[in-house]
């Protein structure tokens, strides 16, 4: 009844091609933004920010990044953890080398550096596909981790090989370091998520995104109709790595504050981001958010229910968590290969017809 196109007339091309063509959708989007920007910062406490909101926002950026590469352009990557490490270490080196420059610029530059590194590692994708490309990106993952663990310059020769984020301000409010307020941490991540989301959405529905999807669906056919595979694949790698790099920089500087490369950016990270886009939905920006939300919130909910509500031993709950996440992945792959995003799409179709289905 509320969710439909009828009665919503577009009078300009701009209106006609907007992201949310349905009025209800549009208002819902504005409402979500309003709540996220103007309500949530006043309600959050340390626990909500550190355990749920900030990891969710950061993983969303990483998932959007990987989704561009894997979901839109069809290039499987297992190097997400390594590329996040590039973002984190780039941010650390920039933060310590140029302490007077604003941290926001450092994070963007870290994304840029990761884009360059990602493009370099994307070059093999011009020759190899599928599993073989997955193995090549896996090599990137291990090489990058080895590099950051091995070469002292990257961690400023600290005794333990750890990197620590010094305190940095945005508009006089600390956003990294020990004295950061929960709302500041949340806001800086939210701002990056907001702009990354808009950028990704508009890239994927524009001409660049169409070339990516053409390559994904059939690269030979795409080449015949005039898509340059070199350009399409490398832009996908660059844009994807840019997002992943930003996620890595935020993950290190804002969320954890201290990072040990082998532990924080291990192959585990690559898999968890891949699971997010598989469960959330390949080739969907909404899916990236949904997948990230599910995989961040689910362990916390299971823990709260198992340990705090029922008082089960912590190890049983931790094991149960592995079982449930594994089960979910299998169930999704069998029942809904297009992920949560497809459920959302189906729900929207149903809403359009409601209350008069035919």
């Amino acid at each position: 009844m509320l969710y439909r196109e009828a009665g919503d007339f577009s009078t300009t091309y701009r209106q006609d091609s907007q992201t949310f063509p349905i009025k209800f959708d549009r208002y819902r989007y504005y409402a979500v933004l309003l709540v996220a920007f103007a309500v949530v910062p006043f309600l959050v406490n340390d626990y909500w920010v550190n355990a749920i909101l900030v990891p969710f926002l950061i993983y969303s950026i990483a998932a959007i990044g990987l989704n561009i590469l894997t979901g839109y352009c069809g290039q499987v990557s297992l190097g997400t953890g390594g590329f996040m490490a590039v973002g984190a270490y780039a941010c650390y080196k920039l933060m310590t080398a140029f302490p007077d420059v604003n941290i926001l610029i450092h994070i963007l530059l870290a994304g840029g550096i990761t884009a360059a590194v990602g493009t370099a590692f994307g070059l093999p994708s011009l020759r190899i596909k599928g599993f073989y490309l997955a193995v090549a990106t896996l090599a990137a993952q291990f090489f990058l981790l080895w590099l950051f663990n091995r070469v002292g310059w990257f961690y400023n020769y600290s005794a333990s090989g750890q990197i620590n984020a010094p305190e940095r301000m945005v508009f006089g409010v600390p956003v990294t370091g020990p004295n950061v307020e929960p709302w500041a941490m949340y806001m800086i991540c939210l701002v990056f998520v907001f702009f990354c989301g808009i950028l990704a959405r508009n890239l994927t529905r524009g001409s660049v995104g169409r070339t990516w999807m053409a390559i994904r669906d059939m690269d030979i056919a795409a080449e015949i109709i005039g898509v340059n595979p070199l350009k399409a694949k490398l832009t996908a790698f660059a844009v994807s790595s840019f997002f992943v790099g930003i996620a890595g920089a935020l993950f290190f500087a804002v969320y954890l504050g201290a990072v040990e490369v082998g532990e924080a950016f291990s192959i585990q990270k690559s898999f968890i981001v891949l699971f997010m886009i598989i469960i959330g939905g390949l080739g969907s920006i909404f899916g990236s958010f949904a997948g990230a939300a599910l995989l961040v919130v689910l362990p916390v909910v299971l823990k709260l229910v198992g340990v705090d509500m029922f008082g089960w031993p912590t190890d049983i709950v931790a094991h149960l968590q592995l079982v449930i996440v594994g089960l979910l992945i299998i169930v999704f792959l069998i029942l809904e290969p297009h992920g949560l995003a497809q459920l959302w799409r189906v729900a929207k179709e149903k809403l359009r017809l409601w209350p008069f289905p035919h």
């Binding site: 004295n179 040990e260 532990e263 190890d315």
Partner: protein, 425 residues
């Protein structure tokens, strides 16, 4: 969403501050690749608190409550656990992970909650002038490195010049910690140091031990944890390396590490800062009040193992610090800030340990404002494969402050400069 709402409500209900007890969070890991080390430690920590509750009615009349949170040795989960438990009046954090400790140092300092990283964490936290809320008594990694070298000096007539020592280490913040000290000691004593990193989790060490076989170092030191230890002991046995010359840090010296290699592990040595075995009066009480009463943590099968003892020791030090804090501030229900003062004033003497049923269990030491690391006394234990026991073969002895002191100064000053910390002492 409904489930989440329910869970949140439940968490808030549980999470509401209950001031009637002393909360000791236990960021344990009973799962994952390092669970074999995490389980006995967590059990020992919990059992000691249970013993105090059952036998003495708590600490100074206030019951102690263990708040267990599973980290899986993972820093992200460690942060989640910290945030989840700190609101409940947590008194002191002992994360049993160097990575998580690094994470928590700035956070906990800002929140005014002390951290006790006993024998792990950031070594330079010994300098209490800079690290107000971090304690690493009674010994740290650099003491361990020096203690190991001192033991070698002692057994080799005081001269190591021209000898070769290899360090097999976990390629992480934890494993890299002793390198600087060992380099300093190598210069001082004229031995040659070679570094052999092993990547997480450490199941693959063939190439490292091949290198050891080729280079024939006189001694091997090891900084390992979890599955890495048992693989290393097995590999050392495979290349017939003399176990007498193989010394592990205290995290590489538990039953789990040597039992898989069977008789071949006989003679393997490990450093320690506390007693081994269950030949102490307190274990009778634990048997009576905890195990027999069915209140033992976990499966209850770890009593008396090396890491169980370490958990017990950690809990004992925490409880003693809490008593100290109660005395200083004259209140029974102390806060984290008061707990910090108690830890800073902590003094463990022989008489005190004997009173607690743990005679000669650890070195005697005193904490002060500028010294958060105790007196750095390190002992050596050796494994007897036929009796399946560890025994203390070298008493707790002093380590080389001349080498460690300046390094601690340098590292803590660098941290202070990075974070704009003024000295407090």
């Amino acid at each position: 969403m409904k489930k989440l709402g329910l869970a949140t409500v439940a968490a808030m209900m549980v999470g509401a501050p209950v001031m009637a007890d002393l909360v000791f969070p236990s960021l344990s890991y009973r799962t994952g690749p390092y669970a074999a080390g995490g389980i006995p430690f967590a059990d020992g920590y919990a059992d000691y608190m249970t013993l105090l509750n059952e036998r003495d009615g708590g600490i100074g009349g206030v019951p102690a409550r263990i708040l267990e949170c599973e980290t899986g040795y993972n820093t992200e989960k460690g942060v989640e656990c910290y945030e989840a438990t700190k609101g409940e009046g947590s008194l002191v954090y002992q994360p049993l992970s160097t990575g998580i400790t690094y994470q928590l140092i700035p956070k906990a300092t800002a929140d005014g909650i002390p951290i006790h990283s006993m024998g792990y964490g950031r070594t330079s936290a010994k300098n209490g002038d800079v690290f107000s809320n971090v304690f690493n008594y009674p010994a740290n990694y650099w003491d361990g490195a020096s203690g190991g070298v001192n033991y070698l000096l002692e057994t080799n007539g005081g001269d190591l010049s021209g000898k070769k020592i290899a360090l097999v280490y976990h390629n992480s913040a934890y494993g890299k910690e002793p390198i600087r000290t060992l380099e300093g000691l190598a210069e001082k004593h004229g031995f040659e140091l070679s570094l052999l990193p092993v990547d997480h989790p450490g199941q693959e060490q063939k190439s490292q031990w091949l290198q050891i076989r080729r280079e024939r170092p006189d001694f091997v030191l090891m900084w390992g944890w979890g599955v890495m230890n048992q693989v290393a002991v097995q590999e050392a046995a495979n290349i017939r390396f003399n176990m007498e010359n193989f010394i592990g840090i205290w995290w590489s010296g538990s039953e789990n590490d040597v039992l898989p290699a069977g008789d071949a592990a006989n003679g393997y040595k490990a450093l320690t800062f506390h007693g081994v075995g269950s030949d102490f009066p307190i274990f009778e009480d634990i048997q009576k009040y905890v195990v027999d009463a069915g209140k033992a943590a976990g499966a209850g099968d770890q009593v008396g193992s090396v890491l169980y003892n370490r958990g017990l020791y950690a809990a004992m030090l925490a409880a003693e610090a809490a008593k100290e804090a109660q005395e200083i501030h004259g209140v029974a229900e102390i806060t984290a800030v008061q707990m910090r003062d108690g830890m800073e004033a902590l003094e463990i003497s022989e008489a005190k340990m004997a009173d607690l049923g743990l005679p000669n269990f650890g070195p005697s030491f005193a904490v002060s404002c500028s010294n958060h690391g105790g007196d750095a006394l390190v002992g050596v234990t050796q494994w007897d494969a036929s009796a399946k026991t560890w025994s203390l073969i070298s008493d707790f002895k002093a380590t080389d402050g001349d080498v460690i002191g300046p390094l601690i100064d340098e590292d803590s000053k660098a941290y202070a400069a990075e974070n704009g910390i003024e000295g407090r002492c």
